[in-house]
């Protein structure tokens, strides 16, 4: 037995408690149903913003999934992960065992849309342009302030901007890169919480940062509270430099900071079980089924 143990040790010298945790994220179509604003031009040439209700996967922002030690469903006015150990008991300070996203914030070539684009939502450039024009009421503008109306133009600019050589490099575009699939009244996505410390009984909790949509404040439409405009690559724009943006670094440590009215959160956690060998033993589904609305 000792020999076998030693051999086993030799065969896996890099054994660590971290590993992948698999889960399925389910979010109702209602989360992607919003009153959208579009800029419409009448026959006489005048333009006006028109509101309507639409259901579209492009209206789902980035989904953040965390694996936590505990959840507190009492302390706050919405289901909130005041979970596990805290720093000095400070509100919102917590440390997950691991996490992942379904889609991530990405830079889509133009400064005008920095912090406004989530990966896994757009089939092509035209779909992205249409989303900004028809859902958010704010057409994509190039660095000269001119509206980008053609997907081909945007593609050309993106290739030049990123020195790209293939469409595969455009992480925010691509039918094969869509995160969610439709399943009845829901959108579902499989997610891998990579390099997660595997602790039996830990709980998965998630929220979706929904894009801002306020009809009378077109300029903020489509922005995300989890996006840090001061992070990301510094880009050299036509006028002055700007940052391309990216997620705040503590979204999973302080989710309460970022969950705002309009976002969707899990109203309960999903438990993950492991056996003694740290092999995941159950299928885990995280439901993001609670709409956090103003009272």
């Amino acid at each position: 037995m000792l020999t076998l143990t030693l051999l086993a040790g030799c065969s896996n010298p890099e054994f660590v408690v971290e590993g992948d945790v698999l889960a399925r994220v389910v979010i109702p179509k209602a989360a992607a149903t919003r009153t959208v604003v579009s800029l419409q031009t009448a026959d006489d040439g005048t333009s006006a913003y028109v509101t309507s209700e639409k259901t579209d996967v492009r209206l789902l922002g980035p989904v953040y999934v965390g694996a936590f030690g505990n959840l507190d469903t009492v302390s706050f006015d919405f289901v909130h992960p005041a979970m596990g150990p805290t720093l000095s008991g400070a509100y919102g300070d917590t440390f997950p065992y691991g996490g992942a996203t379904v889609g991530r914030l990405d830079f889509a070539c133009y400064e005008a849309v920095a912090c406004h684009v989530t990966t896994g939502r757009f089939t092509d450039y035209d779909a992205l342009l249409a989303h900004f024009r028809d859902h958010l009421g704010r057409p994509v503008l190039d660095d000269y302030g001119v509206e980008v109306t053609s997907g081909d133009v945007m593609e050309q600019w993106c290739y030049r901007y990123f020195e790209a050589t293939s469409e595969a490099e455009m992480s925010f575009i691509g039918e094969d890169k869509l995160s969610f699939t439709e399943e009845g009244d829901n959108f579902v996505a499989d997610v891998v919480l990579a390099h997660t410390t595997r602790v039996d009984g830990m709980k998965l909790w998630a929220f979706m940062d929904a894009p801002e949509l306020v009809s009378d404040q077109i300029e903020i439409n489509g922005s995300f509270t989890t996006c840090d405009a001061g992070s990301g690559r510094e880009a050299y724009g036509y006028g002055a430099n700007f940052r391309e943006g990216g997620s705040f670094f503590d979204v999973l440590n302080a989710p309460s900071t970022y969950v705002q009215y309009g976002d969707w959160v899990s109203d309960d956690s999903a438990v993950v079980n492991f056996d003694e060998s740290l092999v995941q033993t159950n299928d885990v589904t995280v439901n993001i089924n609670f709409s956090y609305e103003a009272e």
Binding site: E18, F95, F249
Partner: protein
């Protein structure tokens, strides 16, 4: 036979003495800066002539010449010879005296000489035919002679010369990638002493180019005595003086306005310019003087060399020029008071000051500019004890210090200078460590003071001995060598922020001071200090064995032990490993024109000090404070100092293996016509268990690019850092070299190599914190940054026959297929640098891409003018004469953060320099 047993006993006794010496004096420092002449004396019927007296002399050989009495087989050997041309005389009563001239010695090579004496013959003097094929060594070696250094354009930079060797990719940093290794995996030796930076493994010393005698680049297949390196072995051998006084003076000057420039990025108002600019300013110049000669003829020689370099470079939009100011000293004293003992003392110093270092950010005001001081010294003592004709002991001790200091530029009242202006009551050259710096962001200027300081001191003390017993008869001929060395390294690094504060300012409207905000700032509890050390020791035993005249085996075993400690004196790396080597070289026709070689060697990496730093525990507290601008946008704790690394950091240093390369080489070289050699060589190199560092408690987004949280899950906040040498961290390298070499004859020289290279693996650098894997991903296999498939190197010179006014035209050219830009692999900031694959970002996506193929062509014209007591030479060098502008760097930020690359700089355009030299 009795003689042979005696020699073996001498070998064993000598080796024991070396071990004892090491124990007593605490070790030696090895490598080699010498070559060997060996051969046989025969008569006309090819019978050996025992007892023939051979006398070797050269203006490179102190001591008035060396002598050897040929053994019973007529064999002789002269070892530990400085590179250069020699005269070899053979004398035997009854035979006509034979003198061979022009016997050339190169570092690490064996020059075979056959002397045929005629009984009752006349005295003859023969110019030795030069050997283009070394039939006793493997071929992965390129030697750059003094002639090459003078006549082929290289910018008078030894680093650039090294880049002209096959399988070496000059990445512009001065630390090339050799044989698929990372830029920090090379070994740099100066006169046989390892002078690699003990922390980073990079080159660490500069000196006057005129002081160099020869440079040898070895990319594989070398003996245990030369150490262990996963990259290349770069050996620089300096001149030693001689019996005649020699003075070399050199001055060169370059003005950037002589050539079109392409470096403009910003206009004065801050807008970015197109890729055309003529807006920056640069000029540089050097003056150098090298004097060498005898103190006591044949007994004491000296060499002194000094170079002053100054360059000014102002990027467009920057108010103060980058001011590079360097003094390079090199001194060497060689003493051979009696024939049995030679002592060599040398000192290298290269203090350098670089002011106004920030030329990349147009927002930096003069008072916020930084100064970098760097340099160091190397003191070396080498003692050669020639016990008898066949055995010698070489002992070397050296002390090396290098430093890098970073601070603000001292203030000046000289308004013309426009450097950091002094306050009215401030003394000239005051340094201000109290005023916090303000870094501009979004249209604000860096101002008030340079924001940080750093004092970084590195030491290496080494001592080593090697003992040789040569020409041992035992089932053939053996040349045994054994040695030991020990090396202690330490590092003391202090870093902090001026005034223990750092403000980050924001203009809400670009460049409008009226809208300035203190956006946020850091408060620091004090400076941070990292002090650590390590040591390494090695021992080797090797033999050059010739069972028959046309077959050579070079084999041996090397043991390397390394310990690297962090600031808590924890042994982060603690390994002891063996590196066997065996090579065979066959000269099938015995005509010394062909060498067929094959062999295997293991090379180990027992660590550098920066590996321990990856698991450091020292740090300082800091807290970040926001003004109202960002309220509600971020919830970082602003009221308490968070120490980084945290005092309760958890570090994992698994049972580490020493990273190692198993290298297989094979090659054929043949002299096809007089002075011309063709060579084909194959290298297969498999590097395993590369150092891998990561922080394991970061939570990444779905694509593994940005992190969205810090994981932990335990009761206290902890950081998790891990150092491993996993088996999957590996590199596979294959290369085929085709080379043509024509030695100088009929006034011209040419060398050309083509290398086909494949370099794939999971990791590139031995270790670098900047290359940390995204922690949730596995190491995965793919093209590395060094996977430059096609590499062409050409060099030539032609001495135009217009004596006595010698005009030499030299050229150097290099061409590369593009560098791989693996979209889903981590890539270093500098395309040419050791970037490339590191961690696979979750899943393969995108296609491999390559930069455009690029090439350079440099030209040098040198005109010698004979003047009384010497000669002048005027040299004009044009670099990149075709003005190519291929990409040389990409933004690492895009690749690591967004899986894209953006080219950030291109090749410098055509440039010229004019130099004047004088040789006495």
């Amino acid at each position: 036979m009795l003689q042979n047993f005696t020699r073996i006993r001498v070998l064993l006794a000598g080796f024991a003495a070396v071990i004892l010496a090491v124990v007593a004096v605490s070790g030696p420092a090895l490598a080699s800066a010498s070559g060997t002449i060996k051969g046989v004396v025969i008569d006309e019927s090819e019978l050996p002539i025992p007892g023939a007296l051979l006398t070797l002399s050269s203006d490179k050989l102190i001591g008035g010449g060396a002598q050897y009495t040929a053994d019973s087989d007529g064999n002789f050997i002269f070892a530990e010879l400085p590179p250069g041309a020699y005269k070899l005389e053979a004398d035997k009563q009854g035979f006509g005296k034979v003198t061979k001239t022009g016997v050339v010695v190169a570092v690490g090579r064996t020059t075979n000489v056959q002397i045929t004496m005629k009984y009752g013959g006349e005295v003859v003097v023969i110019e030795e035919k030069r050997k283009v094929v070394d039939t006793e060594s493997t071929g992965n070696k390129t030697t750059f002679s003094k002639d090459y250094l003078a006549k082929v354009p290289s910018g008078r930079s030894y680093q650039d010369v090294i880049g002209q060797a096959a399988q070496v990719v000059d990445n512009g940093s001065g630390n090339p990638n050799a044989a698929g290794g990372a830029y920090n995996e090379n070994t740099w030796t100066l006169d046989g002493v390892d002078v690699s930076d003990p922390v980073t493994g990079t080159f660490s010393t500069n000196f006057n180019f005129d002081a160099i005698e020869e440079i040898t680049v070895t990319t594989g297949g070398y003996d245990p005595e030369f150490g262990s390196s996963l990259g290349g072995l770069f050996s620089i051998v300096t001149k030693s003086g001689g019996n005649s006084l020699e003075i070399l003076a050199n001055a060169d000057y370059t003005n950037g306005n002589w050539s079109p420039k392409i470096d403009a990025r910003y206009a004065a108002d801050g807008t970015q310019l197109n890729f055309t600019g003529f807006d920056s300013n640069s000029q540089s110049g050097t003056v150098g003087l090298t004097v060498s000669g005898p103190v006591v003829r044949d007994r004491v020689w000296f060499l002194g060399s000094y170079q002053y370099s100054r360059s000014l470079f102002t990027n467009v939009g920057i108010r103060t020029p980058l001011d590079f100011d360097a003094h390079y000293f090199f001194g060497k004293l060689t003493l051979q008071p009696v024939s049995a003992h030679r002592l060599t003392l040398s000192l290298t110093m290269d203090p350098t000051t670089i002011d106004n270092i920030d030329q990349g950010d147009r927002y930096t005001l003069p008072e916020a500019q930084g100064r970098q001081m760097q340099g160091g010294y190397v003191v070396t003592t080498k003692w050669n004890w020639f016990l008898n004709e066949d055995s010698n002991l070489e002992t070397t001790a050296s002390l090396q210090k290098s430093f890098i200091e970073l601070s603000g530029v001292p203030c000046s009242h000289d308004k013309e200078l426009a450097y950091n202006p002094c306050e009215a009551d401030e003394a000239e050259n005051s340094m201000d460590y109290d005023t916090p710096g303000r870094l501009g962001s979004y249209g604000a200027f860096n101002r008030d003071n340079f924001y940080q300081f750093q004092f970084d001191d590195r030491w290496r003390a080494s001592i080593g001995s090697k003992f040789s017993v040569l020409n041992v008869n035992f089932l053939g001929k053996h040349d045994f060598k054994a040695g030991v060395d020990a090396d202690y390294q330490s590092w003391d690094w202090v870093t902090g922020f001026t005034g223990n504060m750092l403000f980050v300012d924001l203009y809400e409207n670009s460049y409008d001071p009226q809208t300035l905000k203190n956006w946020y700032w850091y408060e620091f509890a004090g400076y941070s200090r990292y002090a650590a050390d390590g040591f390494s020791a090695a021992a080797f035993l090797q033999d050059v064995y010739k069972p028959v005249d046309n077959l050579t085996f070079r084999y041996g075993l090397r043991y390397d032990r390394g310990v690297v400690r962090n600031d808590q004196a924890e042994n982060i790396v603690d390994v002891g490993v063996f590196g066997p080597r065996i090579y065979s070289i066959w000269d099938p026709w015995g005509d010394e024109k062909t060498a067929i070689s094959a062999g295997y060697g293991r090379f180990n990496d027992v660590g550098r000090l920066d590996i321990g730093e990856s698991l450091k525990r020292s740090g300082t507290g800091q807290k970040i404070v926001y003004d109202g601008t960002l309220d509600g946008a971020h919830n970082s704790a602003g009221s308490t100092y968070a120490t980084y690394p945290t005092t309760n950091s958890v570090t994992f240093s698994d049972d580490l293996s020493a990273p190692h390369s198993d290298e297989f080489t094979a090659g054929v070289q043949r002299e096809i016509v007089a002075d011309v050699r063709a060579k084909v060589a194959f290298t297969g190199k498999f590097t395993r268990n590369v150092y891998t560092f990561d922080e394991t408690n970061l939570v990444y987004d779905s694509d593994g690019y940005g992190f969205i949280g810090v994981s932990n899950g335990y009761t206290d906040f902890q950081d998790y850092y891990r150092l491993r040498t996993p088996g999957i961290a590996r590199r596979d390298y294959f290369a085929v070299d085709v080379e043509m070499l024509k030695l100088t004859s009929k006034r011209w020289f040419a060398q050309g190599t083509y290398s086909y290279v494949s370099s794939r693996g999971t990791t590139q650098n031995a270790l670098s914190g900047t290359l940390s894997n995204p922690s949730q991903v596995e190491l995965a296999y793919g093209d590395l940054g060094t996977d430059v498939n096609h590499q062409v190197k050409l060099a030539a010179y032609w001495e135009i026959p217009d004596d006595p006014w010698t005009t030499t035209v030299g050229l150097a050219s290099q061409g590369f297929s593009g560098y791989p830009l693996s979209r889903y692999y981590w890539q270093s900031a500098d395309l040419n640098q050791a970037g490339g694959a590191y961690g696979l970002l979750k899943e393969p996506r995108g296609e491999y891409g390559d930069t455009e193929p690029f090439w350079t062509l440099d030209l040098q014209v040198m005109q010698e003018i004979v003047v009384p007591k010497g000669k002048l030479n005027v040299r004009f060098e044009l670099s990149n004469i075709t003005d190519n502008h291929y990409a040389v760097a990409v933004s690492s930020g895009y690749i690591s953060a967004q899986n894209r690359y953006v080219i950030t700089s291109h090749q410098g355009g055509i440039s010229g320099s004019l130099a004047l030299g004088y040789e006495y």
